[in-house]
């Protein structure tokens, strides 16, 4: 996560600035966000969902100082800036060119103005303004250059696409400066590039021939976390583009970037996970595009990510770590998709480390309340692990994880569905497995799911019942005793379910019921006669 401007000197520990930043964030939650802000722990708002479905979820990052940095050395409060008029912008630019006042202050003023959309739009429409700004951006006066870079960054963050596109002439310079050594400046250039890249096809069409991949390849060797995080951000934005599977991912896979990504995704976790988070998402975008996962597999991605999850699980039990879900989520997705790789293209990925199973359950327990979306992601991986690996199916039972799994049957629809699928995976392995499931009270849970109205959930429950009944006759009797027949009958008119309901009834339940009755008659006869 981009911090405020990082210090390479001794940390000042100015808490007021950190607090100001947190207050600003809390405020943002309450005000301008609407439905997205209202549901922090749960689902995002309707607008965001719609945007994602239309592939228009444009995420941009903004690095912004909390206080005005001037020569006084005072950590001030954020100065409320007003938008500038066109005339004011013009005057500022003229003054900067002539140097009538301290250039840095003038540019600061401009930068504050550029926080406003109308001002951004006015600026880019002024003839020659971009040219002047780029000239300042390439200046040898370091502080002027930095301030100009901040102006450019504000523009890159604009919600108006035409503003971001106006920054196109700056990209060759942004790329040139990536090989520089100033941490702060490089970081700024990276986030600016990332914002531009996510916004516009035109920008990406230019960035690739301008050599962004080689530039990132040399930049990724930087030891500075701030730079690496920014780099991860740029890369993640590029990899998310519509044309990424055909135009961008092949180039990335051809370079040494994947090896670096694998190194960085598990590095420096105690110091701060920002870097790892970015590269984890990068890997997810590559893997889920299914371009050449065989290559990543040959580079050891599976073991790297498994070990990473194990380490994250151990961090959970030690201390609460904010934002862990942001790292865990993409890693889970990578592993799940890698496990599901087409066997004709790559030899089947096998994972057999039981500790991974424990890690998954620990994550689910930890995140069930705060971030339920992660539970379904964990279950997806659990499904892919248990589908044809009996070792995991056995471990769920012998490690006594079944009660936890059954608890998930009362959660969201997707979670319930996946949990049922995992149970089916387990039951399918054989009678010994069914026996354990039955012993550990799977039937009562199934009866609850049968009471639900969702046809897919009920259907999966029926599949599980079938597997149990097929391999374990005593399950049939128990089911009957627990009023199972009635539970089934409520679905007998549902076209999606009726065939299976009938099959279960006719094949198992009715005969069993009949024999129970005849047993009862027989016992009664014995009693009465004696």
């Amino acid at each position: 996560m981009p911090a405020a401007w990082r210090s390479c000197g001794p940390a000042d520990g100015s808490r007021s600035q950190v607090q100001a930043r947190q207050n600003r964030r809390a405020q943002a939650w309450g005000t301008g966000l609407g439905p997205a802000g209202a549901n922090r722990a749960g689902r995002g708002g309707g607008a965001l969902r719609k945007a994602r479905r239309q592939q228009q979820l444009v995420s941009k990052r903004l690095l912004r100082e909390d206080s005005l940095v001037n020569g006084d050395g005072q950590a001030g409060v954020e100065i409320a800036s007003e938008p500038l008029s066109e005339q004011e912008i013009l005057q500022l630019l003229r003054d900067v060119q002539r140097g009538t006042e301290e250039r840095k202050k003038l540019l600061s003023r401009l930068r504050q103005g550029l926080q406003h959309k109308e001002c951004q739009q006015k600026f880019v429409r002024l003839e020659g303004s971009m040219r002047v700004l780029i000239g300042l951006f390439t200046s040898s006066l370091a502080n002027v250059q930095m301030e100009a870079a901040r102006c450019l960054h504000e523009l890159s963050h604009s919600s108006d696409p035409s503003v971001a596109e106006a920054c196109l002439p700056a990209t060759s310079y942004l790329l040139t400066y990536l090989s520089g050594h100033s941490v702060e400046f490089t970081e700024l250039c990276l986030y600016t590039l990332g914002n531009l890249a996510v916004e516009s096809d035109a920008v990406r069409k230019q960035l690739l021939p301008q050599g962004i991949i080689p530039a990132l390849t040399s930049c990724i060797q930087s030891p500075h976390m701030a730079v690496l995080e920014g780099l991860g951000y740029v890369l993640s934005q590029l990899l998310q583009a519509r044309e990424a599977p055909t135009k961008i991912i092949p180039l990335v896979l051809d370079s040494v970037l994947p090896q670096h990504m694998l190194r960085l995704v598990s590095s420096n976790l105690e110091l701060g996970m920002g870097v790892a988070v970015e590269f984890a998402w990068c890997l997810h975008y590559i893997v889920c595009s299914h371009v050449n996962n065989a290559l990543l597999i040959s580079q050891g991605i599976v073991s790297t990510l498994v070990l990473l999850l194990l380490e994250l699980a151990s961090m959970i039990s030690k201390a609460a770590t904010e934002g862990l879900e942001l790292l865990i989520c993409p890693v889970l997705r990578c592993l799940s998709n890698l496990l599901a790789e087409d066997e004709t293209e790559v030899c089947k990925v096998q994972i057999q480390d039981e500790r991974l199973l424990v890690a998954l359950f620990l994550f689910m327990q930890y995140f069930l309340q705060q971030h339920p979306f992660l539970v379904q992601e964990c279950l997806w991986l659990l499904n892919n692990l248990t589908a044809d690996e009996p070792i995991f199916c056995s471990a769920v039972l012998t490690l006594d994880l079944l009660p936890a799994l059954l608890q998930l049957l009362s959660c969201s629809r997707m979670v319930t569905l996946l949990a049922l699928t995992v149970l089916c995976n387990i039951a399918e392995k054989g009678p010994a497995y069914c026996h354990q499931l039955h012993q550990k009270a799977v039937l009562p849970s199934l009866l609850s799911t049968l009471a639900l109205s969702d046809a897919q959930v009920v259907g999966q429950s029926l599949e599980l019942l079938h597997l149990l009944f097929l391999q374990l006759p005593e399950a049939v009797d128990d089911f009957l005793r627990q009023a199972g027949l009635q539970a089934l009958e409520q679905h007998q008119d549902n076209p999606q379910l009726q065939e299976r309901v009938r099959a279960l009834s006719e094949t198992y339940l009715q005969p069993a019921a009949a024999s129970l009755i005849s047993c009862a008659d027989a016992s009664a006869a014995v009693l009465t006669s004696s």
């Binding site: 401007w5 390439t138 110091l271 904010e322 009996p390 597997l467």
Partner: protein, 266 residues
């Protein structure tokens, strides 16, 4: 969630795997068969997680890394001989150093944004062998890292940069070595003075030559004999130097010298 206690301990206990019975294919109307699920990038399954990621990037969620703040230190001077810039933050100094001193050509004192550009400059400007070889073979290397193309001349290289790499034709770090005889006053009048030097620099100099791949000198002038002294000398930052170093002498940064530069405009 009801997780059993001491899971890590249980892991280490030997637990034989339950025996597997070979599975038979499902019998109709039942259709379940275990399978590994695969989701493509736009799948609905990813919706919640993607939104969470989006909100994180929009800076709504709590930071995962520490926020360290800038610290101010007492004023200090750049230690490079002849450079008298003063700083009160370490970042400011770091950036200044990297911009002006780090990739500096020891022959002509020009500064470059990267080692790569510096190396190319030294090769093309200060290596006499280069000039000899350039007559016979393609020696001018493309400036874009990762591109291995070479060219017979600087101009050919520029054409390549513009056409293939979509670089701007006035890319600051690829100006031709020869003198420019014309200037840019063909532009229609605009609100901003376009003939003013685009670049903002520290020192005054009379030389108006623009050299390739470097950061400092001003753009070409309208009138070759008119010095650039006017606006720049009024810079407040300059006051520090003006009192200490005569404007005719320049150390460690600019291309001009107190004595006229050898690369005169023709």
């Amino acid at each position: 969630m009801l997780l059993p206690p001491e899971l890590s301990v249980s892991l280490r206990v030997e637990r034989p795997m339950l025996p597997v019975q070979p599975c038979t294919p499902p019998r109709a109307p039942f259709c379940f068969s275990p399978s590994r699920l695969r989701f493509h990038r736009q799948h609905e399954f990813f919706e919640d997680g993607d939104i969470h990621r989006h909100l994180y990037l929009q800076d709504i969620l709590t930071n995962v890394t520490e926020v360290t703040e800038r610290s101010k230190v007492s004023e200090f001077c750049c230690h490079i001989v002849g450079c008298c810039q003063v700083f009160d933050t370490l970042e400011g100094y770091e950036h200044h150093y990297n911009t002006l001193h780090r990739n500096m050509c020891s022959f002509c004192k020009r500064s470059f944004p990267s080692v790569h550009l510096l190396d190319t400059h030294i090769l093309e400007w200060h290596d006499s062998l280069f000039q000899i070889m350039a007559e016979k073979q393609k020696m001018y290397q493309c400036l874009v890292e990762g591109c291995a193309e070479k060219f017979k001349s600087s101009k050919d290289r520029k054409d390549h940069l513009v056409k293939v790499h979509l670089y701007p034709s006035d890319f600051r770090f690829d100006k031709p070595k020869k003198a420019k005889s014309s200037t840019k006053h063909s532009k229609p009048p605009s609100k901003l003075d376009m003939s003013m030097p685009m670049d903002v620099n520290v020192e005054t100099y009379e030389q108006s030559q623009v050299d390739s791949m470097e950061i400092c000198p001003s753009e070409s002038m309208e009138n070759p004999t008119q010095p650039v002294s006017g606006p720049i000398s009024s810079l407040q930052e300059k006051k520090l130097y003006k009192s200490r170093i005569p404007s005719t002498i320049c150390f460690g940064q600019g291309a001009s010298r107190g004595f006229k530069s050898m690369k005169k405009k023709v």
